[in-house]
Amino acid sequence: MKTVSFKTLGCRLNQYETDALLTQFHQAGYQVVDYSSPADITVINTCTVTNQSDQKSRNTISNAARKNKNGLVVVTGCMANNHKEQLESNEQVTYVVDNERKSQIVPLIDAHFKGEMIHPDSFSRDVFGFETVDQSLHTRTAIKVQDGCDNFCTYCIVPSVRGRAVSRPIGQILENVRSVIDNGFKEIVITGVNIGRYDHDGLRLEAAIEKILELPGDFRVRISSLEPDGFGPEFHRLFQHPKMTPHMHLCIQSGSDPILLKMRRMYTVKSFMNIIEKFRSEIPDFNFTTDVIVGFPGETEADFQLSLDLVKEAQFSHVHTFRYSRRKGTRADRMDDQLEEKIKNQRSERVRKQAEENRLSYMQSMLGKRQRVLVERVDGKGMARGYGEHYLPVNFLTERRDRNWFTELTLDGIEPGESPTMKASVI
């Protein structure tokens, strides 16, 4: 039996697509092995969103090639789109498969072992052609509803590597949800590159989620990352539904309006805060997390201070901080006033500290509250770990040793550390 291993870099969508590929390989009779073990095939699902991610992707490719001297190295993901020619001329790489053909890697490899060398580009494009992920991998799975982005934010390379926005037909989405629930998943995450642009025959994201919520079964729904201009004024109503989880990763990027305009982000700080206030007026402990870019060209100390103030004011419980990274072909790369790395590092550190404070204070505000935790794993001593509906990690003691079940708990402590965790007891 041929062995296959996987390495994923970057976003949640990539993670989902790797899980789906892994399932496809397993179903096709390959043995999936840990990335640290030697394998006949190594699939590297790369990321190119920053220079750092390019570097990480390159290092991973070299390591995989060194580790598996006679194995195949398949490179896919956004770097395969952004640096296709460079990767194709890299002797360590056997196949370079772009995002549009990622779901075709199994037939490509099957053909390879039958002695047919097919160029990946001869497969048809299908960004939604993935198998339902196997439940043995996680308790939570992504449902890909959309791919691509047409927003053309001035810093972002994604539109040129993920292509134009396309929406998956609602029938396919519902079928996918039904099948993952039948497979035993208890939590689904609505995922895409820019899900707020979901529009299939006039059906927008709100309506698509409503249809998912109508499906029977004991499962809950989480929204992955969302852009602030990606939904209508009634979107908050969805969260009244018992299956919806009160958490959203809403990307602000900057707390300064002039910088938001230079980024071509189509909202203002005020309109963003209005969204937060609206949600929290209905669900006061609603958990917001976000992305912030520091060191965008022309970002002054005053602009940055506005971002820092906003992180505090909005009480994001987690902030994914990006130091602005120049990407060739983007508008921001051609802007004057590029900032030194040193300033970006300092600003990133200041956001990190504020975000840490926010996280602790959010956790403290949750003490004494009930959470419905989905158990993801239990260790030999009965210490279980999972996530509550607000997307806080929770540890608690249990007699059970299995995973993938819901339990009602009261949050009664915080375990400090680099990534603090809530402690809880059974009600």
């Binding site: 025959d201 002039p258 071509r264 189509m266 203002t268 072909g329």
Partner: protein, 223 residues
Amino acid sequence: MQMMNVEVEKTVFVLEQVRHLTESTYVLRFSRNEMQFLPGQHLALGLPGAKELREYSIYSGVHDDFLEVLIKEVDDGIVSRQLKNISKGDEILVRGPRGFFLTPAAVSKPGKLLFISSGTGLAPFHSFVRSYPDSDYSIVHGGRNISEAYDLEDYKKELFTICTSRGDKGDFPGRLTDFLLQNELDPKARVYLCGNSNMIYDAMDILHAKGLPQKQVFTEVYF
């Protein structure tokens, strides 16, 4: 609401006409190739084989059987200068249409629309007015002098205000932002701003100070 984003397969279009409006600003007209678009959408253009593409708002209307863009040659720019040197019969690389800028105005019931632009930021409004000449619009456009009121005859004169910061032949001698400060604003109008980000930021500040709700304000930033 559904987007009419029918992206044409064919990406090489043939230039039919170049019209020079000023020393630096010109209109390129090329074959439509059945492309469907909404006013406010833009195309990415470049020379065939060239790596650099830039976005340009569609200038022509939805009923025109050609496509047009309005371009200002930028000092030290790359694509805006390359495109200035092409002539009738030459090929041009076209991607699109893309974007959502005027979509709410174009597809929902017409109400009062206020269009605010600077420089070539007038382009999407030209497309809109050519497409829906009877809609309830007015335009406040800023430029250095009257020559930046491109193709003025395409608008109803009384609905177009040109603010000239360096000349005195416009309707309002002074900056666009001064015009906004000094004039009343319909609080129900939906306002669309297009052009450079500094102008948009200053204008938005004034609109907010005058009580216009953010949800009625839409922006398209060129640079």
